[in-house]
Amino acid sequence: MASRAQIHTSNSALIAMIADEDTVVGFLLAGVGNVDLRRKANYLIVDSKTTIKQIEDAFKEFTTREDIAVMLISQYVANMIRFLVDSYNRPVPAILEIPSKDHPYDPTHD
């Protein structure tokens, strides 16, 4: 449920991603990739070697950055940090759970 937090308007906000390689590569082809001067990217590729802590840290970082308006997260990744995702209740950045190649979208988890 969205709370009435202060909403910042922005003319060029980013789309962050926490997803599998194919999904991230696809969206990067569409031009959403951003790397700042500190070499911090707006995406995290999740594979078999990615730890839960890395996913949690990325989630916390992306949801606290003011330049990110929407965050895409593969639903199977969101399930790994479900408590963190469900406890998030701000309207921006908006968290969108998306299907992945190997895990179709399940509406009961959203």
């Binding site: 449920m1 969205a2 009435r4 909403i7 910042h8 308007t9 922005s10 003319n11 060029s12 906000a13 980013l14 789309i15 390689e21 194919d22 999904t23 991230v24 590569v25 696809g26 969206f27 990067l28 082809l29 569409a30 031009g31 959403v32 990739g33 951003n34 790397v35 700042d36 001067l37 070499r39 990217a41 707006n42 590729i45 308006a69 929407v70 895409l72 309207p91 921006v92 908006a94 969108l96 998306i98 299907p99 190649k101 179709p104 979208y105 509406p107």
Partner: protein
């Protein structure tokens, strides 16, 4: 005197009934708005799944023709660069819908001198009467909308193609047509995602209002 009192009380009763009817009408409107947004949300998610599947398939085909070593995460550019596709976040001052609104800006570049920001307005929720520019590549097969200014569409299309090529260049100079097709699919998926984001906000907002009204009725 008694007649005046009776008239006064009947007027008051009518006013109260009118207010109740108005309140009921607003409640029903909120419920309808919530159900509409829920329906849109489910439909858009289905469309997104379909588009993503197409994109993944095209990406797999490109990987097969170009080689797995040429399309993988290790090739991603980690040098400092700005996103070519971003979002514009505006805030509605609507009493009913107090929520932000997202607009996708595809292949917008602040470095060129043409000022060719591409705004893709959300079809489901548009409050602005501003111009809508829709530009698709030659692969899409859909005729392009031509703005009134002569020469501008060619310049803008050229710029968009340059941005697309630049994005593809991280996988080499010569890329498979399937990779270009995958790029278009993921662009379409982005547009759908922005619509989903807006519809989701409406859904959460109206759901909140309906819940409050129900709690008010029970209390």
């Amino acid at each position: 005197m008694e007649e005046q009192d009776q008239m006064q009380s009947s007027i008051e009763v009518e006013e109260v009934e009118e207010q109740q009817r108005e309140g009921k009408r607003l409640e029903e409107e909120n419920v309808v708005r919530f159900l509409d947004s829920l329906d849109s949300y489910v439909t858009l998610l289905d469309s997104l799944s379909s588009t993503l599947r197409q994109g993944w398939l095209e990406l797999a085909s490109a990987r097969q023709s170009m080689g797995a070593s040429r399309i993988n995460g290790a090739l991603l550019d980690l040098k400092s660069h700005s996103a070519a596709t971003s979002l514009q976040v505006t805030h509605h001052d609507d009493e009913i819908l107090n929520q932000p609104h997202f607009t996708l800006c595809k292949w917008a570049s602040s470095k060129n001198g043409y000022g060719d920001e591409k705004l893709r307005e959300n079809k489901l929720q548009t409050n602005s009467d501003g111009p809508q520019l829709r530009h698709r590549s030659q692969f899409a097969g859909t005729p392009e909308k031509i703005p009134e200014t002569k020469g501008a569409p060619l310049i803008v299309d050229d710029q968009v193609q340059k941005e697309r090529t630049k994005s593809l260049s991280m996988f080499g100079t010569l890329v498979s047509p399937k990779l270009r097709a995958a790029q278009l699919s993921f662009e379409t998926a982005l547009e759908t995602l922005v619509e989903i984001a807006n519809v989701r906000l409406t859904m959460l907002s109206t759901s909140d209002q309906v819940r409050k009204e129900l709690e008010g009725t029970e209390g």
